[in-house]
C-alpha cells in the first residue's frame, strides 16, 4: 500500500470533500437540492477550516 503524506490542509480538504458528497447525496430529495447542499456543506467545512486555523494562529500569540 503506497503511503500518503499530506499536510493538515490537504487532509482536511479531502475529508471535507468526501463528507460533503455523502451529506449532499443522502440529505435532500431532488438532485438540484443535493448539489446545492453538497456545495454548501463543503464551503462550510472550508470556512470552519480557515476560521479555526486563523483563530489558533492568533490565539497562539
Amino acid at each position: 500500500m503506497p503511503k500518503m503524506n499530506l499536510s493538515h490542509f490537504e487532509a482536511a480538504f479531502l475529508f471535507s470533500l468526501f463528507a460533503s458528497v455523502v451529506m449532499g447525496v443522502v440529505t435532500k430529495r431532488t438532485d438540484r437540492d443535493r448539489l446545492h447542499y453538497g456545495i454548501y456543506t463543503f464551503v462550510c467545512f472550508l470556512v470552519a477550516l480557515f476560521g479555526l486555523g486563523w483563530l489558533m494562529y492568533f490565539g497562539h500569540g
Partner: protein, 140 residues
C-alpha cells in the same frame, strides 16, 4: 407542517423483507443498497466517497480501533471507533483479512488516517439509513 411531521412519525414500520436486503448490502458494499434499489448515480457517488475515504485512511496508515475496557472514556472511544471501523463493511473485512494492522503512532498524518477510517464507516451508516428510507418508500 407540524401535522405533516406527525403523520410521518406515525407511519408503520415497513416489512423487514422490504428494506433488510438493501440495508445489509449497503453495509457490506458501500453504495450497494442504492444499486439494489436502482439508484445507480447516487450509489456510485456514495461508493466512491466511502471507499475513497477508507483507502486514504489506509494510505495514511491510520490505526484500527479494538474494543477495550477500562475507564469510561477509553471504553467509549475504542468501542465507538471499532463500531465506526466495522461499519465500512467489506472494506474493513478485506483490510483485516489481508493483515492490515497499524499501531497508533504519533504524528498528524496517522491521526488523520485513523479519523478517515472511522468516518468512512460513519458515512456508510448515513448511506444505509438513506437506503432504508428509499426501500421503505419514504423517499425517492
Amino acid at each position: 407542517m407540524a401535522k405533516e411531521k406527525e403523520v410521518q412519525q406515525k407511519q408503520p414500520m415497513p416489512p423487514v423483507g422490504a428494506w433488510l436486503p438493501a440495508v445489509a448490502l449497503g453495509w457490506l458494499i458501500p453504495g450497494g443498497g442504492h444499486f439494489l434499489l436502482k439508484r445507480n448515480g447516487r450509489g456510485a457517488l456514495l461508493a466512491a466517497s466511502v471507499a475513497g475515504m477508507f483507502v486514504c485512511g489506509l494510505m495514511m496508515q491510520g490505526a484500527m480501533f479494538q474494543p477495550q475496557s477500562g475507564d469510561l472514556l477509553t471504553t467509549l472511544i475504542n468501542t465507538g471507533g471499532f463500531i465506526g471501523d466495522v461499519c465500512s463493511g467489506m472494506l474493513y473485512l478485506l483490510s483485516v483479512c489481508f493483515g492490515y494492522s497499524q499501531l497508533d503512532a504519533a504524528g498528524h498524518v496517522h491521526d488523520y488516517g485513523t479519523k478517515f477510517l472511522v468516518t468512512a464507516g460513519l458515512l456508510n451508516v448515513l448511506a444505509m439509513v438513506d437506503a432504508y428510507e428509499i426501500a421503505a418508500g419514504r423517499k425517492e
